[in-house]
């Protein structure tokens, strides 16, 4: 993601990673053996990725920003889990927004 957009720097950066990570665990759907993975790319704006995560998954700003930073810094993030059918729908939705996304079996990587 391009990093030249000052507004996109999340206010949550001062928080510790464990804070947001535990929050994420309680908020993300944890059922099911399949995952939606979103991959980093040099085009999608940070603010757009946060917008998509909030809009499509209904995540709070904090969770959406944490996931966006994970994509940006680690190159990928698991953004949802569930039945294969649900995750297929999520991956297709990510593609409709122009995000690079794959379906993965939980625990594969």
């Amino acid at each position: 993601m391009p990093v030249d957009l000052p507004r996109a720097v999340p206010r949550t950066r001062t928080r510790t990673r464990t804070d947001t990570a535990s929050e994420e665990r309680t908020t993300l759907e944890t059922e099911g053996p399949w995952c939606t993975v979103v991959w980093n790319d040099p085009v999608n704006l940070m603010s757009y990725v946060v917008f998509v995560f909030r809009r499509y998954f209904g995540y709070s700003r904090v969770v959406a920003e944490q996931l966006m930073m994970q994509v940006h810094e680690d190159g990928r993030a698991i953004v949802s889990r569930g039945s294969r059918e649900k995750v297929e729908t999520d991956v297709q939705a990510m593609h409709s927004f122009g995000l690079q996304s794959t379906i993965e079996k939980a625990g594969e990587v």
Binding site: M1, P2, V3, D4, L5, R7, N40, D41, P42, V43, N44, L45, S47, Y48, F51, R55, H72, E88, V91, Q92, H95, S96, F97, G98, Q100, S101, T102, I103, E104
Partner: protein, 211 residues
């Protein structure tokens, strides 16, 4: 000169664009839609297919159904970015293309067409472009898809590549100032860079207005 998107009291979103800016955005939206259609073979023989689908002959109907569901792996690198493999497992990826690629393409083309007609309706001169919430979503997705195509043409692979492209452009300008040059390829990429920047700025401004 373009003015950023802002939320109006009635909840709609408005920006101001020059006639030339509207024409450029409409043109790249059109080119992106054309590229998707050409690369995925959409519309090719569409009429013949429709006739076959309505045929009395059950075998012809079956053939039409099969042909309609055929999903090509994109050959253009930009279209591959718009329609990425949904799985690292090639046979799963193939299955997802067959199941979902056509719907995905229809959605992307519908967004691009919608943006073109919004810009057409806004008229040729400098003026306001007004969107409702749903149109704003189409605009965000369409701007993003066009940026993905332009980024591919600029060879952007990793974070920071656009900064490098800009830096090389500026060095190129300085070299040109020093002596006569000006090959066409260079001019072409300058335009792509400028359009990419305009679309990125517009998308960011719409995201801020929506926030």
């Amino acid at each position: 000169m373009a003015h950023a998107f802002r939320r109006r009291p009635d909840g709609s979103l408005a920006c101001r664009l020059d006639g030339e800016e509207k024409a450029i955005i409409a043109q790249v939206a059109q080119e992106t839609a054309d590229l998707i259609r050409a690369d995925l073979g959409i519309d090719a023989g569409g009429d013949a297919l429709r006739r076959a689908a309505e045929s009395e002959d059950p075998l012809r109907r079956l053939e039409a159904e099969f042909a309609g569901r055929e999903a090509r792996t994109p050959s253009d690198s930009a279209v591959r970015r718009l329609f990425p493999a949904a799985s690292e497992d090639p046979s799963l990826a193939e299955e997802y293309r067959r199941l979902g690629q056509r719907d995905l393409a229809d959605g992307k083309i519908a967004d691009l067409r919608r943006v073109m007609s919004i810009l057409d309706a806004a008229g040729g001169g400098h003026g306001e472009v007004v969107l409702d919430e749903d149109e704003a979503l189409s605009m965000l997705r369409a701007l993003n898809d066009v940026r993905i195509v332009l980024a591919d043409r600029l060879g952007l692979q990793r974070d920071g590549d656009f900064d490098t492209v800009r830096m090389l452009q500026q060095i190129g300008e300085r070299v040109e100032d020093a002596g006569p040059s000006g090959d066409e390829e260079h001019v072409g990429s300058d335009i792509v860079i400028a359009v990419y920047e305009l679309l990125s700025w517009l998308q960011e401004s719409l995201l801020r207005a929506l926030d």
